[in-house]
């Protein structure tokens, strides 16, 4: 019986290997990763203050000239490869966040802010992005922060 099925098994094994090879997804085609997106407002006026919920961003926010920081919105979602995630910004605008690459230690996001700007940023798993999304008006501007695997 083993002899009778040997040839068939060899052919099936070869076909399976070929199918596996052709059908295997690339490393970067992960199904999706969880992300936490926050929209925060930075102001130059008023007494210095930082929303306690933004304490994890202190190291990045302290590099900017804005002295008051408060959170305006938060969104948690599953970012899927090449599928834009829309996040509303106060004032009627929105930003598009797209996961364009995901590897073992790094992820790459594309951020599009209307027609004004688009960015592509690669960060390691333990980092986050702080990205200005509106022009400064009356000494205040909105930013978006993106944190993968929150």
């Amino acid at each position: 019986m083993v002899d009778a099925t040997f040839g068939r098994r060899a052919v099936l094994a070869a076909l399976a290997a070929l199918a596996f090879t052709l059908g295997a997804p690339p490393a970067s085609a992960a199904s999706g990763i969880p992300v936490r997106v926050r929209v925060i407002k930075g102001s130059r006026q008023g007494p210095p203050a930082v929303d306690p919920s933004l304490s994890d961003l202190q190291g990045q926010l302290s590099r900017l000239a804005y002295q008051r920081w408060e959170q305006a919105a938060e969104q948690r979602a599953e970012a899927e490869m090449n599928k834009p995630l829309r996040v509303a910004i106060p004032g009627g605008e929105s930003l598009e966040l797209t996961l364009v690459d995901a590897r073992k230690e790094t992820v790459t996001f594309q951020i599009r802010v209307g027609a004004r700007a688009h960015s592509k940023l690669t960060i390691s798993k333990d980092q986050r992005i702080v990205h200005q999304v509106t022009d400064e008006k009356d000494g205040a501007a909105y930013f978006a922060t993106v944190r993968p695997w929150p």
Partner: protein, 166 residues
């Protein structure tokens, strides 16, 4: 009727000459043999008997060979080694039989094209795929502005810059 001693001695000498083929004896030996046969009845009788049987065996073998038909010889040999024209097995069945008899070769023969294809796929996919992005790589495009990127250990900070380039 006994032969004299001298004649018997000569018989002993010429006896090997009786079976000699043409050209093997020298002229002197031929002369000696002829003289002896004229005078020795026994040796002449032996010589005549040999001449009568000479060639009979060869002729008999040739006659037997001519009688036999060798036409089916090749077919019989091929049938014995299992590759005769009468074998009607399909190509697939013969391939399977060969694979069973040569397992290692069949396995390698099956896997080799697959592995070669795999190597080509890996080679071309690698050559077409750009190198993986590194953490810290930033690309910002903001029309009419002077965007600025601050790199910190916690991640990048992107400022769009003013519309006047500030």
């Amino acid at each position: 009727m006994t032969r004299p001693f001298e004649q018997r001695r000569e018989c002993t000498i010429v006896a090997p000459m009786l079976t000699a083929r043409e050209g093997e004896l020298s002229a002197e030996e031929v002369s000696l043999l002829d003289q002896h046969l004229q005078g020795c009845n026994e040796c002449r009788a032996i010589s005549l008997a040999l001449a009568e049987t000479d060639g009979l065996v060869g002729e008999a073998l040739l006659a037997e060979a001519a009688r036999r038909d060798f036409a089916p010889f090749v077919d019989e040999v091929m049938a014995r080694v299992g590759a005769g024209p009468q074998e009607k097995a399909s190509l697939w069945a013969r391939a399977l039989a060969w694979a069973r008899a040569h397992r290692a070769a069949a396995l390698m023969g099956t896997l080799a094209p697959t592995l070669a294809g795999l190597a080509l796929i890996v080679y071309f996919s690698d050559s077409e795929t750009p190198p993986p992005p590194l953490a810290g790589e930033v690309e910002v495009v903001a029309e009419g502005r002077a965007p600025m990127v601050l790199q910190t250990s916690e991640g990048p900070v992107v400022l769009l810059g003013g519309t006047d380039g500030t």
